[in-house]
Symmetry: C2
Subunit: 356 residues, 2 copies
């Protein structure tokens, strides 16, 4: 079986505690002793038993990441960034999918799903402002995303208003004046706060440019999936509304809209410029490549992991909840008349014919 600290201690001729001290970099260990222990560890290929350590110390070194679904690009990229950030801090990540269901999300908060974790990063999709009370949980929790605000926990989110304004400004800068929007929310305006915040950013940009707001250009689409982006664009075209640009509230909607435009034979960006929001990898690879606003996902991941670890190690009374807004920037691509600023590099191996 696997070696334990006792085995190492025996081989090195010291007590277990000294082995523990060496492993934990306790300073008062003679270099010679340290060396003996080290080589015993190597010789036995000893690895600390993390269950035992976790039991003793009350920390597992694992955090949970609860997201709707990995197969949604946005969340895959978020998970990627979170895992990288956590790895740098020597923490492992247990991923849980809520399936984008309300029950799944409630189960996360009830602590029924993720176990063996010191705390959870949670990106809700179904829960909304009315469910804020559910966030009062007995374990460290950091909230991600734009569904719930002003809760009792730390919250890291993109800058909704700012990034929507930036997207709109980008379209204005390339001379567009009839800018449609896809992704507003139909019935409960308070429910998807981020849709409203994005509408606000859009209106702010219009107002600053002295352009009147035309409700006919603002289209509902929910949820923000590709098919709804495509459908909203079909509607927009069918209604005969005049427009020369569209800002979709996320990239997935944008890719759907792009598809409809392509099928309808409408040229992008000549006839209609398109910009999304999220800057998922896929936006670089559509035809044409799609401009987007990068909401600072890597930064969000880094900050969220930091906040969570801070909370995990927090002693005494908890500090008041913090809300962090990430920095954003426009990634201009073909769909708004730019060449891709980060073109995908071809491999070093130049493709050629295979010798038979």
């Amino acid at each position: 079986m696997a070696a334990t600290m006792h085995d190492v201690a025996r081989v090195a001729g010291v007590s277990v505690k000294t082995v523990s001290n060496v492993i934990n970099d306790y300073p008062y260990v003679r270099p010679a002793t340290r060396e003996r222990v080290r080589s015993a560890i190597d010789k036995l290929d000893y690895r600390p038993n993390l269950s035992a350590r976790g039991l003793r110390s009350g920390k597992t070194g694992v955090i949970g990441l609860a997201i709707p679904e990995l197969r949604q690009n946005y969340f895959a990229e978020l998970a990627d960034a979170v895992i990288r950030a956590a790895e740098r801090r020597n923490v492992a990540v247990l991923v849980d999918q809520t399936g984008a269901t309300r029950e799944g999300e409630i189960a996360v908060l009830a602590g029924h799903r993720l176990r063996l974790t010191d705390g959870i990063l949670f990106s809700p999709e179904q829960l909304g402002q009315d469910d804020i009370a559910l966030l009062q949980v007995p374990f460290p929790l950091v909230l991600l995303g734009e569904r719930m605000f002003d809760g009792p926990t730390d919250h890291v989110t993109m800058h909704n208003v700012g990034s929507a304004r930036a997207a709109t400004e980008h379209l204005l800068e390339i001379g567009r004046r009839r800018i449609a929007v896809i992704g507003a929310h139909p019935t409960h305006p308070d429910d998807i706060r981020s849709a409203n915040l994005r509408v606000r950013g859009y209106r702010e940009a219009l107002a600053a440019a002295g352009i009147p707001y035309d409700p006919a250009l603002v289209r509902v689409a929910a949820p923000w999936h590709r098919e709804n982006g495509a459908a909203a664009m079909r509607d927009l075209l069918a209604d005969g509304v005049e427009f020369d640009a569209v800002f979709t509230f996320n990239d997935t909607l944008g890719l759907g809209a792009l598809r409809t435009l392509g099928q309808a034979g409408i040229r992008v960006p000549e006839d209609v410029a398109v910009i999304g929001l999220d800057n998922i990898d896929e936006a670089r690879f559509s035809v044409p490549s799609m401009s987007s606003v990068d909401p600072g996902r890597d930064q969000i991941a880094e900050v969220a992991v930091d906040l969570l670890i801070e909370r995990i190690n927090e002693k005494g009374d908890p500090a008041p909840p913090r809300q962090i807004l990430a920095d954003y920037r426009v990634a201009a691509r073909e769909s708004t008349g730019f060449v891709d600023p980060e073109p995908a590099l071809a491999s070093a191996v130049s493709p050629s014919v295979l010798a038979d």
Copy 2:
């Protein structure tokens, strides 16, 4: 602090062991006692401490999934499927990204990265047939993917030859005769065994149809990324080779090729039919939607998790390694002249204009 078994025992007026027995469904507990314990558990909101359980039992209930990168769609979908499969078996999944580096993959096998896990599902990308010896590790390991074969561990993989043959047959069935291939491997044919297996499937289908093999149609591309698919297609067009269809060895290559075709003004499927392999979600949403061969990812995930759990619980001498090939099927879409068999559904909420 959180309640322990002792607290529950005190409240229920029984011993800790009885509480443990209730939790573990030990049969010899009187219904009345069981009930008392149950209500004490509810009352105290008791949750077993998994570190302690793990220490005592030697199992953590967590498996590791080591993949190159979550942001690659294929792996996000694989992880999604694995997590779902694991959840059904009451097991949690810790995700590790190797970053598609050799060092990262070796670190996984050295057990340095994933800890607190009972076993690992590993999908290598850099390690190859020469590294088979590294798979001899002291923990349960199940291999995924097509980089290494005939190793000392269980292995779950798609059916390379079969699915490539199916893709080619699909193109033949719609009347294509000059079928190009993108994704062959340039220098070390043995190194990417799956590329060779797919070439074999392609040639088998051609042979069965009595169509001669033309090496000029077989294009190198490595790694199988979008940009290389695009570049290989550019090469193919520049070379002036005549072809009426292309089979790309994965979907990402196919999406790249599709992009080049679109830019070159070549109609898909009228001029050139396209089929990929992997059936990633994205294939359904490209313009035109791309046909693909579904390699049975869900089945692969299910089987892999089952095998791993079986190995974890295996007592005594290990059974000989097993290799499982998944079932495959063609998903015909627009790029080969079909309407999408699984059209994305529009949301129930009909998009419309937002009331101001």
